[in-house]
Symmetry: none
Subunit: 209 residues, 2 copies
DNA sequence: GCCAAAGTAGAACAGATGTTCTAATATTGC
DNA sequence: GCAATATTAGAACATCTGTTCTACTTTGGC
């Protein structure tokens, strides 16, 4: 099966962007069509379970009556947990503690998908120009110990004692290919043992120009 | 006839409470029923006029697609007006026309300050790596013919026939210094006459990693 | 491999829904 | 009162839409 992401997640995501975009909910068949599903009954099948799980609301028989729970309102913000620089590992004090006076960073709504644990780090220095990331940029990251091939991740390199931001590809023989985001630069190869994934980069914001 | 309030007002009021209550819009016949109207065509008749007057939005044929304008505290979004690439000038079709089916881009709330006319352009190609901007990045821009020293602007270079993104510094003698955002790169100098400012870059978003 | 469970596809149906057309009725300006 | 305009009704239609049912395929545990 090629499908990587969960069908229910894709459905939720589609409903979210559709609603945000159009102001009303998609029909069952529109969901099917945009999520690569061939039959409305399949959508119905998943909607019933999402309803049971309390993730959506929905009136019987009413068209376009799907609602998302706990979605709207409340500004889209993530806590700024610290600084990321080349020479020091990321110290994440526990993402949940947003109570502690962390500055909150405004982010685009559409990256706040179903309860992902997101946080922000501010880049210090110019060590990541090879990842097209400038001094003072804000990285929006998701907590993760491991990532999928092609994801951009923040990695701590044990031997080098430094943080780097690269696309991750798992290769044969416990090797990991670190591919710079800048397409003009060449990849590095490391032993998996040398690399500690510290989080997955979801977005980059540059608002101070 | 006993009807005291205007029919259009009653329709608008009903749509408003219905949406607030249910989270989606009523159907034409539901409007009719709750507003004491006997025929869906009458509702259609009034909806057309409300649409013309710009008081509601509505997609043709889509059920329950009525939206109220200026109501619910729209999410922070700006219209994606087009593409920006090295070899072609930016063609901005008029920032106001957000009605035309432009895709709307979610942006951080805090960049939407005091009614600035913002729009978004998607970067195509890798011609702006020197500005730390990657392919597919989203530029959030503000309409502007001129900028202040140090602002990052999109400039059209007449002689070279290309778009570039640089920090702008006005120097003596009608010269303009174009300073790359990448601190490792050297500035260019141009005659002011060769440069047409096309907009000021407010932010850069990179959400597809 | 085997089996149960989960997921997908397709068809079919009843009712909902937006739309259009024509005709009737009410309102307004003169 | 009269005519022009605005509004309302009703019917009819094509399509959209939610729902249900059955059958088929994939997945995961053993």
């Amino acid at each position: 099966m090629v499908r990587k992401t969960n069908t229910k997640e894709r459905i939720l995501d589609f409903i979210r962007v559709f609603r945000r975009d159009k102001g009303y909910s998609p029909s069952v068949r529109e969901v099917a069509s945009h999520c690569g599903i061939k039959s409305p009954s399949v959508v119905q099948y998943h909607l019933e379970q999402l309803l049971e799980a309390g993730l959506i609301t929905k009136d019987k028989v009413r068209s376009r009556s799907i609602g998302l729970v706990g979605d709207e309102e409340g500004p889209a913000q993530v806590p700024l947990l610290g600084v990321i620089a080349a020479g020091q590992p990321i110290d994440i004090p526990s993402v949940d503690s947003q109570k502690a006076g962390h500055r909150m960073i405004d982010v685009p709504r559409d990256i706040m998908r179903n309860g992902r644990k997101l946080f922000a780090l501010q880049v210090r220095g110019n060590s990541m120009v090879d990842a097209m990331i400038a001094d003072a940029d804000i990285l929006i990251m998701e907590q993760a110990d491991s990532v999928n091939n092609g994801d951009v991740a923040a990695c701590w390199l044990e031997n080098e004692q430094e943080v780097t931001l690269k696309k991750i590809y798992y290769e044969k023989g416990q090797k990991i290919r670190l591919q710079p985001c800048n397409p003009y630069m060449l990849p590095l190869f490391h032993d998996a043992a040398n690399i500690r994934i510290q989080g997955k980069v979801v977005a980059v914001l540059r608002t101070k120009m």
